[in-house]
């Protein structure tokens, strides 16, 4: 019996471990091939940040093909982004035309496809040489679109400009003007390869780094892996000597990119959810424990990934919208794991895995627009306030969401299952209430700290800026819930419903305020997020409506009145009186 108790959780956690291990292990590279991984680790500068070439390649490719950090070559095999980058970098002096044949540019707009005489195909990804003849026409349209005021551009204009933008970045890479590759002693003097090469030639000077890098791409074009790897080693020798710290961080970042921990966290959270759902249906205790330990394992990976980002960037965890999503997910899961450790009733597993997976999915979405470790605007460039205000306010969002999802869980469980017994009704409300107290604490402190930061940096404690107001709304809403409870205006169901409304309020201040235009905190917004938020609100309204069904109609409430022994009373734990 004792062995049985630990057997299943042990197997599940081991399975999780093996999965992660398999993902983290490096891809094997045949001996006589290009050392692409080594090439990817070289540090370059792009958008104000020293990063590995691997990241630059992944982000550039992802922006162009809308979401993928790898591509299919002509034979249909998946290839890493650095190979695409090398193909583009050598395209100017190569007559093979490899880069132009790669189908990596996504064109969605069917009018634009018409303009370029392209046929829609699955995936909508096209190669440059498929529409090379239409480029002059495209350029003309792009110029016309650019002249229009942004508000007056139609969908075709926007698609044309987007494509023109992609081609522009392509050209910059192909002409070796982006990124800044050749390092210098001073931080501000990194140079693109082309410039460094021309300067070295004009000054009749032999620059070892420029020479080694030049040899590398020449060797790539001539398909000489041996020479490529030799020049790479030479170049790495120079870098390791002149920029040891940056080279080390770059290597680590490449591992991070390769492992893509957040993606695997999503997979594992989904498994946690499935196992936790099974726990409700079958033998609860050991299955539920398995879900708990798998969730804990995933949380550890999630935590590691968060710390890894902090190490790479040298900043507190939340610096932009993407990282806020990652951090909110982390906080939700952490809170739920703690709840589960206290209550051991399966609620924490379900809510934790759902919120963890959802927030990381949102993060994946937000991360599709570029480098998620971007540099910060001057006024945001302070680790102290990022660490205090931003972290606090994000924890405020986090706890509000946890409370809201507990509310959703309360409603769905009560209406659609018989398992919400009087006992679990009480404990679920207790959990929600506790979490709301934390939400109140974090959102208030976070908001006031934001005010103090504002006072420090532009002399106004409170400017009634849209984003500030959004945070204030969360504080007020949590105060409403707490005071309504203290005044006896709401009971268990009322708290659940109010915290679901809290989800809507939090969604507004997290994303919605940006949509209004651009205040001091705006990170930008787009139609897709507007649709996402709309859907989210509708879903919350639906759950609210379900929660407003008369209580006698709830399955759980009906079940409470039937003293039939066969109806399960939630997950039995050793703490529950039998």
């Amino acid at each position: 019996m004792q062995a049985n108790k630990y057997l299943l959780p042990g197997i599940v956690v081991l399975g999780g471990f093996l999965y992660l291990f398999a993902q983290a292990a490096p891809n094997s590279q045949p001996a006589n091939s290009f050392n692409l991984q080594g090439f990817g680790q070289l540090p370059v500068v792009d958008r104000g940040r020293i990063k590995p070439i691997d990241t630059f390649a992944r982000v550039s490719l992802m922006v162009m093909n809308d979401g993928f950090q790898s591509f299919k070559d002509e034979s249909g095999a998946r290839q890493p982004a650095v190979r695409w980058l090398l193909d583009v970098m050598t395209s100017r002096f190569s007559d093979k035309g490899t880069a132009e044949k790669l189908k990596v540019i996504r064109i969605e707009n069917d009018q634009l496809l018409g303009v370029l005489s392209l046929q829609p195909r699955p995936g909508l990804r096209y190669a440059i040489n498929e529409f090379a003849k239409q480029l002059p026409a495209l350029e003309e349209r792009a110029k016309a679109a650019e002249q229009k005021e942004p508000a007056k551009r139609n969908t075709l204009d926007r698609s044309v400009l987007q494509l023109a933008h992609h081609l522009q970045s392509y050209i910059e890479i192909a002409s070796l003007q982006t990124p800044l590759i050749i390092p210098a002693d001073k931080e501000l003097e990194w140079k693109p390869f082309m410039q460094a090469a021309i300067e070295a030639k004009n000054a009749n000077r032999d620059d070892p780094a420029t020479k080694a890098f030049g040899n590398m791409i020449l060797a790539y074009e001539r398909n000489e892996p041996g020479n490529f790897n030799k020049s790479l080693e030479e170049y790495r020798g120079i870098i390791d000597k002149s920029l040891p710290a940056e080279a080390a961080i770059s290597k680590f970042e490449v591992f991070f990119n390769h492992f893509s921990p957040f993606y695997h966290c999503i997979v594992l959270y989904i498994f946690v959810f499935l196992i936790a759902a099974l726990a409700w249906a079958f033998r609860p205790e050991s299955i539920n424990r398995s879900a708990f330990w798998l969730c804990t394992l995933t949380l550890i990976v999630h935590t590691w990934a968060l710390l890894a980002r902090m190490y790479i960037q040298g900043r507190p965890p939340v610096t932009n919208l993407y990282s806020s999503a990652v951090f909110i997910g982390w906080g939700c899961v952490l809170g739920c794991v703690i709840l589960e450790a206290i209550y051991k009733n399966g609620v924490g597993n379900i809510v934790g895995s759902v919120t963890g997976a959802l927030t990381l999915l949102i993060a994946q979405h937000l991360g599709g627009e570029g480098d998620t470790l971007e540099m910060m605007q001057a006024v945001l460039d302070t680790n102290f306030w990022l660490a205090t205000h931003v972290t606090c306010i994000t924890l405020g969002y986090t706890t509000s969401f946890v409370a809201g999802f507990l509310g959703i869980f309360y409603v769905l469980r009560g209406v659609f299952t018989p398992t919400l017994t009087a006992e679990s009704d009480k404990s679920l409300t207790q959990m929600t209430y506790g979490i709301i107290c934390f939400a109140m604490l974090f959102s208030f402190i976070g908001t006031v700290l934001g005010g103090i930061w504002a006072d420090q940096s532009w002399g106004r404690f409170w400017g009634w800026d849209p984003k500030e107001n959004g945070a204030l709304l969360i504080v007020i809403w949590n105060a409403v819930i707490l005071h309504a409870r203290w005044g006896g205006m709401v009971k268990n169901r009322g708290i659940a419903l109010l915290s679901i409304v809290g989800n809507m309020v939090t969604g507004w201040s997290w994303f919605g305020t940006n949509q209004l235009g651009v205040g001091l905190h705006a990170y930008g917004f787009n139609d897709q997020l507007a649709r996402g938020l709309t859907m989210f609100w509708i879903s919350q309204l639906v759950v609210l409506a379900i929660g407003l069904f008369p209580k006698e109609k709830w399955w759980s409430v009906k079940a409470r009145k039937q003293p039939v022994a066969g109806i399960a009373s939630g997950i039995k734990t050793k703490h529950q009186p039998a």
Partner: protein
């Protein structure tokens, strides 16, 4: 915590009123009102400058909320077409009203239910902190003054240009029209026409001025174009070569421009002859020009006056000199990394002189005023400092400490109790 303890007897008269004022139901209602107010006040910033929204919604007793603000909300999510217009609106209690009622509610609650014991100490601390916060916002609303100090590299200045701000005591409402007589090198004689007089167009007369003034057009916000082919009202002065075009006022959610830049077309009529001197363009744009911030007006008698539409000034007993302005960018981008101004402050009255560096998140506090790095002149030619005098600036810090501490005590006690109970259950 609940009102139930009072239900055993029937209160009457004053006590009944007090109990109503102290009820948690009222608290929740007031919270809901403030929730709506903050939401509407946010939406109002789509079409209005932040400070208008702040004055109308948060620093007022009542506010008229036009339905159109909700259309803005729906449009932001593409729920209605961008051209949708809704008329009408409704009155709603403003920030002063809701805040005042909350204060009364809080005080009444403590008066009725107050019993000091350790269990309540957290709540007491939180609520006292909130009162401090409200007082802080009230003091800011009443007394805070904001302005700008602009200096070129190597240049010095001794005044602030007061920004449009709103307060309980009325608002500083944009630029004034100033005429200065420089004929006496020892002292400058200035006649200033306040903004509200120019704003209302029409004719103005002042005994100190040799001419009458007629405001032909006043623009709350404008841009300057060199294309005068569409016609130009100006017949003299700097306005001959450029034309001012009216623009909508800056909205609170706009990112590219933070303040309004007004312009006016002004006809001057010689008092003695009754002859028109000319129509001039007076614009904050022109006064911003560092080389020639004013334009010369010559009367029929040959008297010379300098005219400018400029922000209201507040002269200081000290002088500030910009030694160096630095604008650092991130490697290979235009994203600013840091702005900083090295300045020298000379205060002869206090016999004070020192150099200091003002940068982002690193202001200078001097004599009750705080100087922040706020912006820079085009081409990094100089710096713009934001200057704020707010006698209540310390209150939010105090409040934050009190409330945070109070919440930690209160929720901490709850948590402790809860854990204890669980431990007991566990044991049994």
């Amino acid at each position: 915590m609940s009102d139930q303890s009072f239900s055993s007897y029937k209160p009457t008269g004053f006590l009944k009123l007090l109990l109503t004022l102290a009820s948690l139901r009222l608290t929740v209602i007031l919270f809901l009102l403030s929730l709506f107010l903050v939401f509407a006040g946010t939406l109002a910033q789509v079409d209005n400058p932040t400070w208008t929204a702040v004055t109308d919604y948060f620093r007022s007793f009542f506010v008229f909320v036009p339905s159109q603000v909700f259309v803005r909300f729906f449009q932001a999510f593409r729920w209605v077409p961008p051209t949708t217009q809704w008329g009408g609106g409704f009155y709603f209690p403003g920030g002063w009203t809701v805040g005042f009622l909350l204060l009364i509610n809080l005080l009444a609650a403590h008066a009725v239910r107050f019993k000091f014991n350790w269990k309540r100490s957290g709540i007491l601390m939180i609520h006292s902190g909130l009162i401090v916060l409200m007082i802080g916002e009230l003091v800011t609303g009443l007394f805070a003054v904001e302005g700008n100090m602009t200096m070129e590299q190597g240049g010095a200045t001794n005044y602030l240009e007061l920004r449009e701000t709103s307060g309980f005591l009325g608002k500083i409402n944009g630029p004034e029209l100033a005429f200065s007589d420089l004929s006496n090198p020892k002292s400058e004689k200035v006649v200033v026409i306040p903004n509200h007089l120019i704003r209302n167009k029409g004719k103005l007369s002042d005994p100190a001025l040799p001419f009458d003034i007629e405001v032909l057009e006043y623009m709350n916000n404008s841009s300057i174009s060199e294309n005068t082919s569409q016609g130009n009202l100006a017949t003299k002065g700097d306005g001959m070569s450029v034309v001012a075009i009216s623009k909508p006022e800056v909205s609170g959610t706009s990112s590219d421009q933070k303040i309004d830049l007004p312009s006016a077309y002004i006809r001057l009529i010689d008092k003695k002859s009754g002859q028109e001197n000319g129509v001039y363009l007076a614009s904050v744009w022109l006064s911003l020009s560092s080389t020639k911030p004013t334009q010369e007006v010559i009367t029929s008698e040959g008297q010379k006056l300098q005219m400018a539409l400029r922000m209201k000034r507040s002269y200081k007993p000290f002088q500030m000199e910009l030694i160096e302005f630095k604008h650092e960018r991130y490697l290979g981008t235009n994203t600013p990394k840091n702005f900083s101004s090295k300045v020298k402050l000379v205060d002869p009255a206090r016999n004070d002189s020192f150099e200091t560096l003002i940068s982002m998140n690193n202001p200078l506090r001097y004599e009750g005023e705080t100087f922040y790095q706020s912006g820079f002149l085009p081409g990094d030619k100089g710096t713009i400092l934001q200057v704020v005098r707010n006698p209540g600036w310390l209150l939010p810090y105090l409040s934050c400490a009190m409330v945070s501490f109070g919440m930690l005590i209160h929720f901490g006690m709850h948590l402790n109790q809860f854990m204890k109970k669980r431990a007991e259950n566990h044991a049994s």
